[in-house]
């Protein structure tokens, strides 16, 4: 097995969890209601927890004595391999929920496959994650329905959110960072196999939420190659601030 490609592969999964966890963390104390505030931070905590398991494993594999914190805090923008969807700004609550639902649906399908990975550690992290992410998707899906099928204004805003985030969903299935060798060995998940189910599930929920499924066929890619949107630099400067300003500081 090629260590380097496994290391890269773990980051293409875990960076999504870190960045979305960071985005949700921004809302701590700023949620529109107590319930949604707590939900956001709880989901963030689960994602950061999963990130830690992935990064600890990645650090082990790399074998250069780095820690999970080095991987989280001390890389350059182009070295983060998360997809563009998860770095999109919170904007308003509809965006938080829409982004979450579009991610949760993918991530749950993904973990369901990853639990069958021939790599024991990845399989174990996936099994643990499935329990948590099922809760997340239930929460975000319920809210998409509530807002989509809610008042005239919430409906309009939610449709705007879906249209606005839609260009980013196809990147979830982009195979950048997933080597054919890893798929052959049964370690990595073949993302292209998840696409059909994903769009079926998302379309069904959007319809239930009385929202239109965008017909747009043009999608944006780049995050997985390290080419991020403008929002990313700001997010990263928040995330890395303490370690960059006071190297090696601990709480």
């Amino acid at each position: 097995m090629n260590k380097e490609s496994l290391y890269d592969y773990i980051l293409t999964i875990a960076d999504n969890c870190l960045i979305l966890g960071q985005r949700l963390g921004e809302l701590c104390g700023h949620g529109p209601s107590l319930e949604t505030d707590i939900a956001g931070t709880n989901i963030s905590l689960d994602l950061i927890g999963q990130t830690r398991s992935f990064y600890q494993y990645a650090a082990d594999i790399e074998g250069k004595g780095k820690t999970e914190d080095d991987i989280a805090f001390l890389r350059l923008e182009k070295d983060y391999k998360n997809c563009l969807l998860v770095e999109q700004p919170n904007d308003h609550f509809g965006y938080v929920i829409g982004r979450q639902y579009l991610w949760d649906t993918f991530y749950l399908l993904f973990l369901n496959e990853l639990q069958n990975s021939s790599d024991e550690t990845l399989s174990a992290i996936a099994k643990k994650g499935i329990k948590e992410v099922s809760y997340h998707r239930r929460f975000s899906g319920d809210w998409v329905k509530r807002l989509g099928d809610g008042s005239e204004e919430s409906h309009l805003k939610m449709q705007e959110v879906v249209n606005g985030l839609w260009p980013y969903v196809d990147e979830l299935f982009d195979m950048t960072g997933v080597s054919k060798e890893l798929i052959k060995q049964g370690i990595a998940v073949d993302l292209s196999k998840l696409r059909e189910t994903y769009f079926k599930q998302v379309s069904a929920l959007l319809e239930e939420a009385t929202l239109e499924v965008p017909e747009r066929k043009y999608f944006v890619y780049g995050g997985k190659k390290g080419v991020h949107s403008e929002y990313f630099g700001y997010l990263l400067s928040d995330l890395q601030y303490m370690q960059r300003t006071y190297p090696n500081m601990t709480w």
Partner: protein
């Protein structure tokens, strides 16, 4: 997992029969039990690590205690604290501790002992229901969670997410008290 140990376990937890759960009896040196009882969950101090079922193995080899710990939730901050607390408590008897995190099989609320569940209720946190009732309570808004204050089941969900990752927030419609419910995790 042997069927026998599963049945033994099922008897021990009374009506909570879970033949298909991935429960495996932990491997704990009997002489370590007493001191392990001194380490509690920092968030729910009435529960010891043994009540919670997070210690999967504790064995002593050449004066070093080797512990395998399975986290409840991936991001649960209590797990880091538990690791430190284990080291502290064993250092008082001059033993070193090596803690290893084990993720698989994943922790389940079935692993909480009956004694632990009772302590949890007395502490004011409703015990996890079966998987199907849990869903009805959290999604269907069914009134099935028992109020820890007055015992009524006339309770409603306030928030699917609670003060910690493992809990949801409920309120009793009879005595009006809000209380935590420990979510079923399987």
């Amino acid at each position: 997992m042997t069927k026998d140990s599963n049945i033994k376990r099922s008897k021990a937890i009374g009506k909570h029969l879970h033949f298909n759960s991935s429960y495996i009896e932990p491997n704990i040196d009997p002489h370590l039990r007493e001191i392990l009882q001194k380490v509690s969950d920092p968030e729910i101090p009435v529960l010891t690590v043994l009540d919670l079922g997070v210690i999967r193995e504790a064995i002593e080899i050449d004066n070093v205690i080797h512990i395998k710990l399975t986290p409840t939730y991936s991001g649960c901050p209590a797990m880091d604290v538990l690791g430190d607390d284990l080291k502290t408590v064993f250092s008082t008897i001059g033993k070193e501790v090596e803690v290893k995190l084990v993720l698989s099989p994943a922790w389940s609320t079935d692993w909480i002992s009956e004694e632990g569940l009772q302590k949890m209720e007395a502490y004011g946190i409703a015990r996890p229901l079966s998987e199907s009732l849990d869903k009805e309570a959290l999604i269907g808004n069914a009134r099935v969670v028992k109020c820890t204050n007055c015992g009524s089941r006339n309770t409603k969900k306030i928030s699917q997410f609670g003060s910690t990752a493992c809990k949801a927030l409920f309120q009793c419609e009879d005595c009006q008290e809000p209380f935590d419910y420990f979510k079923c995790l399987k």
